[in-house]
């Protein structure tokens, strides 16, 4: 095995471990941290089933964001929807035989990449053009968008400019999954794409990308509004008495 293959094999195992363990620990921490008081942002659903409905529209349609700001919503929603399609399209590198619905959606996934980059570009433009958003942006906010755009562009580059040997790429990833390691093609664009993806996986549990698991734990959105009907049990004991 070439040094390159060894390096990428190790890199992806490392990145996958960091992502899975890091996210797992973070989610466990969210779940274990007590919520001492009832704080749903009202009007809120009165039942748990209602909360599931509320969260469904938050996650799939970014409902609150829609109420807040149409520009952020359109760019942000397009980016995320396209990202989802792009990720699903990538399943073909990890399944053999390729699931039929994954095969069917391939053309859609290819367009989605453009939409994703357009959405990201729109979000990035706001960071320069809107004074309020410029003010709140740190270097990491710019870098995160740059990273995602670079991943998208390097991916498109392999499709439209310098094609890589995708059969070999697939063999490499299946090899990683089944511990039967295969060589990786040495194309510069592929190297770039994969390194950036590994970086994304590694920073995921340490960055604002935690918004994805975080939103499922926000008490303001996930608590039902039923404090009078059901006593929210204290997580702390009384410490002092009234005088």
């Amino acid at each position: 095995m070439s040094l390159l293959t060894i390096a990428f094999t190790l890199l992806f195992y490392f990145a996958a471990l960091v992502l899975i363990i890091g996210l797992g620990l973070r989610i466990r921490l969210y779940a274990k941290t007590p919520a001492p008081l009832r704080i749903p942002t009202t009007p809120a659903p009165l039942t748990t089933a209602g909360v599931v409905g509320r969260m469904f529209f938050e996650v799939t349609l970014f409902r609150s964001l829609f109420k807040a700001n149409k520009w952020i919503w359109i760019f942000g929603w397009l980016f995320h929807a396209a990202l989802l399609l792009v990720l699903l399209r990538h399943l073909r590198y990890f399944t053999d035989p390729v699931w039929s619905w994954v095969a069917l959606m391939q053309p859609l996934g290819a367009y989605a990449a453009f939409v994703m980059i357009a959405g990201l570009a729109g979000l990035w433009a706001r960071r320069f053009l809107v004074d309020r958003v410029r003010y709140i942006s740190s270097p990491s906010d710019h870098l995160m968008l740059a990273l995602l755009i670079a991943i998208g562009l390097s991916g498109l580059g392999m499709k439209y400019v310098a094609a890589t040997d995708i059969v070999a790429v697939k063999a490499f990833f299946l090899g990683l999954m089944y511990f039967d390691w295969q060589p990786i093609p040495g194309d510069p664009l592929l190297m770039l794409h994969l390194v950036l993806v590994a970086v994304l996986m590694i920073i995921f549990p340490f960055s604002k990308l935690l918004h994805a698991p975080g939103m499922f734990f926000a008490p303001t959105r996930t608590q039902p509004d039923n404090a009078r009907e059901k006593r929210h049990l204290p997580t702390r004991a009384a410490t002092r008495q009234a005088s």
Binding site: R26, Y30, T33, P34, A35, P36, L37, R38, I39, T41, T42, P43, A44, P45, L46, G50, E58, S64, L65, K67, A68, N69, I72, G76, R126, V130, R132, V133, Y135, I136, S137, S138, P139, S140, D141, L143, F206, S207, K208, L210, H211, G214, M215, F217, A218, P219, T220, R221, D225, A227, R228, R231, H232, T235, R236, A238, R240, Q241, A242, S243
Partner: protein, 496 residues
């Protein structure tokens, strides 16, 4: 009036460009050592304050899922940046909710996250030093904890939670706010924010009974410490003497009277407000909540009803059961607690009150949804009841009612500008500027519908509007209590 300019009301809302540092000078008076000591905090900035503050931050985050998730999740999308009335009124970018959070988050990142420990510049992490503390003191006292930002944030991030935590950390190292902490001390020792002792309270209530009798010829009682009454009324102490609050209290008394309900006020828990919430102090909030439980047990009541007060209703509705429950000694057929608007609404639904709407024909009304009722609690047994019920009570009391524009009411309501423990004269500039969005919406309703009066169900809102309406060229008595309207319209006597 003061050394700042009252903002000009624009015909339509405008998002102002940022003006860095425009409110950096705004700071409330610091609490003196005796005030701090009374409620369990150090008297002045302690020597090793940095370490204590950082440890306290860790403790708070470990005990609050909200804080933990909010501190991690913000993507700096900017959706909240134009949602805070203090930003809209002052243009200071640190009054944008996300920027306010970042004052806290930057320190949290520095000490509690890998990114902030190793790459502080990259993620905007900062050491906690005196400058940061000063900035905290200034800007965490420019948040009225109104939760408007949390409605619009894609993750429901509630800046109020972060402001509360920041204030608690500052209190823990000895830097407290005079206004809030002095009041908490009084409420904990005397029983109400004004420090009214039992005899004074009795005197006031008797005076009100005489006023009602003089005006209507009917004897309406306002009982104090009456053992065996069915209902304990817990109401903000401003209701005992401030205008227009007291007219609301008279309204509650008339409703109870006319419905034939037996009720009492307690001198031990003569305060619905719970400023412990404003400073994020669970312990202090609990001490005040316990007094209500003690009063209910002592007097042997069957129900607890709260008067018109926004944050008090939040604490009562959402927290009281947790802080001082279970209340299984009360009558389970009634919600614990109940809001006075719910009581009146139920009676109206059952046609148990006779109302002469024309009594308020001299007014054209609108309604100011108070933040803590709108976005932090509920009334009635259906989602959004907190918007419907007070409006129905108003409409049952008058003939002319119009809402303000839809982006300024209900869940989108704007704070009065004085909530969250900021209702103090040392913050008058902030209060005037922060009420700009509400004043613009009111102006719109005045221009479009000829609105003359705005009704509210919160003691803080009422005091704030009485004070700031004149700055905007309006009259202080254009703010009224909801139960003041009820009081005017309700027909006393007769069969009931």
């Amino acid at each position: 009036m003061a050394d700042f300019d009252t903002p000009v009301l624009k015909p339509y809302p405008v998002i102002p460009p940022i003006e860095i540092g425009s409110m950096a000078h705004s700071k409330p008076y610091v609490a003196k050592p005796d005030i701090q000591g009374k409620i369990g905090f150090p008297g002045e900035l302690i020597d090793n304050w940095q370490q204590v503050a950082i440890d306290k931050m860790g403790e708070l985050v470990d005990n609050s899922r909200a804080l933990r998730v909010f501190l991690d999740s913000c993507v700096k999308c900017g959706a909240c940046t134009d949602k805070c009335h203090y930003y809209l009124g002052t243009s200071d970018p640190k009054n944008m909710p996300v920027a306010r959070q970042d004052l806290f988050r930057s320190v949290y990142r520095r000490y509690y996250t890998a990114a902030g420990k190793y790459f502080p510049g990259l993620v905007g992490a900062r050491d906690l030093d005196q400058d940061v503390l000063d900035e905290w003191y200034s800007y965490f006292h420019q948040c009225s904890q109104c939760r408007r930002c949390s409605v619009y944030c894609p993750y429901g991030i509630d800046t109020a939670e972060i402001s509360m935590a920041a204030r608690e950390i500052m209190d823990t190292v000895g830097v407290g706010q005079k206004y809030c902490n002095e009041i908490i001390g009084k409420a904990q020792t005397i029983g109400n924010n004004l420090g009214l002792p039992q005899p004074a309270l009795l005197n006031t209530l008797e005076g009100l009974e005489e006023d009602i009798e003089d005006e209507t010829g009917v004897t309406v009682r306002l009982p104090l410490d009456q053992h065996g009454a069915d209902i304990l009324l817990v109401t903000p102490s401003a209701d005992f003497f401030a205008e227009p609050h007291v007219d609301g209290l008279i309204g509650y008394a008339k409703v109870f009277h006319q419905a034939g309900l037996s009720w009492t006020i307690s001198s031990h828990a003569s305060e619905a407000a719970n400023f412990g919430m404003f400073i994020g102090s669970y312990d202090n909030m609990q001490v005040l909540a316990q007094r209500i439980r003690e009063a209910a047990l002592e007097l042997g009541v069957k129900r607890i009803v709260f008067g018109e007060c926004g944050h008090a209703w939040r604490v009562a509705y959402n927290f009281l059961n947790t802080l001082a429950g279970p209340f299984d000694f009360l009558d389970p057929n009634y919600p614990m607690p109940q809001h006075i608007c719910e009581v009146t609404y139920d009676l109206l639904q059952r046609n148990a009150l006779r109302m002469d709407k024309s009594a308020n024909d001299d007014k054209v009304l609108t309604f100011h949804d108070s933040c803590n009722v709108a976005r932090a609690s509920r009334m009635g047994n259906f989602e959004g009841g907190q918007f419907v019920i007070p409006r129905e009570v108003i409409k049952a009391s008058c003939n002319h009612y119009y809402d303000m524009p839809s982006d300024a009411i209900q869940e989108a309501t704007f704070c009065c500008g004085g909530g969250g423990g900021l209702l103090t004269d040392d913050l008058i500039e902030l209060r005037v500027k922060g009420s700009l969005p509400r004043m613009e919406a009111l102006k719109q309703a005045v221009d479009d519908h000829g609105v003359t009066h705005m009704a509210a169900i919160c003691a803080i809102c009422k005091s704030q509007f009485s004070k700031i309406l004149p700055y905007y060229g309006m009259e202080m008595d254009q703010i009224v209590s909801v139960h003041q309207l009820v009081s005017d319209a309700i027909q006393l006597g007769g069969d009931h």
